[in-house]
Amino acid sequence: MKVYVEVLVRYTAEGTVVPISFMWEDGRRYQIERVKNVQRCASRKAGGCGIMYTCIVQGKETHLYFEDDSAGRWFLERKAS
């Protein structure tokens, strides 16, 4: 399942986008400890495609996607529907 989330983002002086934290659907805000990798990727699980940020959140790997279409939203994959 695809869940659109609110994301706090930092733009570096070079224009690189670094996600800082996101708000999950339960209203809790999660800090992103580190971004391991950035690449274009499709998510069959969520049903979408965009730029995938492989993030470390609470010590675990999470994929945060930026959907670069006209709306330009961020989404996460929810494990079960």
Partner: protein, 417 residues
């Protein structure tokens, strides 16, 4: 040196993009088709499950439902298809700058120059295929050969998610037994003519007498003969190459059948506004206006007339279209769809010969009015300003022809033939 040409074809492109976004449609028969409410009722693409049940591209939605009652329809999202097409081309461009798109979902690439670094055609095709699968979540079929025709044949040879390589060594064995209709530019009519000559396979074409083909098919005969033998050295155009625009046109299937002159005027107004706005946007004037009419019995005809002077003034195009319609149609049957096209284009910068009898002042006023309308619509949307008479029928009014215009691949021959 022999070229390495790839042809990549996204499998059921529209359906694949929709299946990615709607996981619930992945395991059921599904087709992308126009809005059945607005009667744009045909299947644009079906997924493989629907295809296996007999759903074909171009079927009316009700026909599709007849062969496959549980089918799910999704309205097309062109912005998404354009976006995915762009991503695919970004991937292609990491291998070559010689890429020539053919519609949104197909593309030729000449990767000859990359083979020394990236490996042979098959290796490059594998890399493209796996990147598209991973990054876009859709699949492609790729044909690899030394010319564009066989490369395209290769991408059709095995589907979905496959790679086919045709070499000088294997093409006689693999391509020649294929039916003649599989060859590029052999349509139904040509196939029928070839059948009468006893030519049924691509091999038959290759081994026939080119003069006989020529005498029955005209110059296409020679072309097909050389295609079938693999003698094709058309270059793959450089990225960004676009065929020169030859005409600007719009057509639409109307929300309901048209039965009166007023109905036609409302639709023609919308179409003419779109055509003239697009002419202005691209800096063209047209010298000929063409209309097309399709009745509800699906009888189709077109008529055209030359204008006294090149124009992109909305009023002049509307007037010409209306005159053509009045002169050519006597309401034998209600009308299902209408089109207007401006052809015979010249640059908007071209100096124009004035004449004594046209009121230039008024013409200039009209041009300024068009510009004002364009600007208002750009800022506030299409419906911000409209002709009053269009309000006579609110159902027909819901037509923004410019935004809704469809996407067609350009002809393969550009203007060479």
């Amino acid at each position: 040196m022999e070229r390495t040409v790839l042809h990549s074809d996204c499998n059921c492109f529209y359906a694949s993009v929709e299946m990615l976004h709607h996981p619930e449609t992945r395991n059921v028969p599904m087709a992308v088709g126009g809005d059945p409410e607005a009667r744009h009722g045909i299947v644009l693409t079906a997924n493989y499950i629907a295809k296996r049940m007999g759903v074909k591209t171009g079927m009316a939605l009700w026909q599709a439902r007849q062969v496959c009652p549980q089918i799910v329809f999704i309205s097309p999202h062109y912005d998404q298809y354009i976006r995915f097409s762009r991503y695919a081309r970004e991937i292609y461009s990491s291998f070559t700058d010689q890429q020539e798109p053919f519609g949104l979902d197909e593309c030729w690439m000449d990767v000859t120059e990359s083979t020394s670094i990236k490996g042979d055609g098959l290796k490059i095709a594998e890399e493209i295929s796996s990147r598209i699968k991973k990054e876009l979540g859709i699949t492609v079929s790729i044909g690899v050969s030394w010319n564009k025709i066989f490369a395209k044949l290769g991408s059709d040879y095995k589907k979905p998610d496959a790679i086919t390589v045709f070499t000088q060594e294997n093409f006689r064995k693999l391509i020649w037994p294929l039916p003649a209709g599989d060859l590029f530019y052999v349509g139904r009519a040509t196939q029928r003519k070839l059948g009468k000559l006893g030519i049924f396979t691509i091999g038959d074409i290759a081994e026939s007498d080119p003069e006989i083909l020529h005498s029955h098919l005209g110059k296409v005969g020679y072309v097909l003969y050389s295609y079938a033998n693999g003698w094709n050295d058309d270059p793959v155009c450089k990225e960004g190459y676009e065929a020169p625009v030859k005409s600007v046109g719009n057509s639409c299937t109307t929300p309901r059948d048209l039965t009166t002159d007023l109905d036609v005027r409302i639709i023609q107004q919308a179409l003419a506004e779109s055509v003239s706005a697009r002419l202005r946007e691209n800096g063209f004037l047209c010298r000929t206006v063409e209309i097309s009419v399709r009745t509800n019995g699906l009888v189709w005809f077109s008529r055209q007339k030359k204008l006294p002077r090149p124009t992109n003034v909305t009023d002049e195009i509307t007037k010409a279209a209306w005159e053509l319609f009045r002169a050519s149609y006597r309401w034998e049957a209600p009308i299902r769809s209408l089109g207007i096209r401006g052809t015979d284009l010249v640059s908007g910068q071209m100096p124009v010969q004035l004449d004594l009898f046209t009121n230039e002042q008024q013409r200039d006023k009209k041009k300024r009015m068009d510009r004002a309308v364009d600007e208002i619509r750009r800022r506030f949307g299409y419906y911000a300003v409209q002709r009053a008479f269009v309000y006579e029928d609110k159902a027909l009014m819901k037509l923004d022809a410019k935004k809704d215009h469809t996407i067609h691949p350009a002809g393969y021959f550009h203007s060479a033939m």
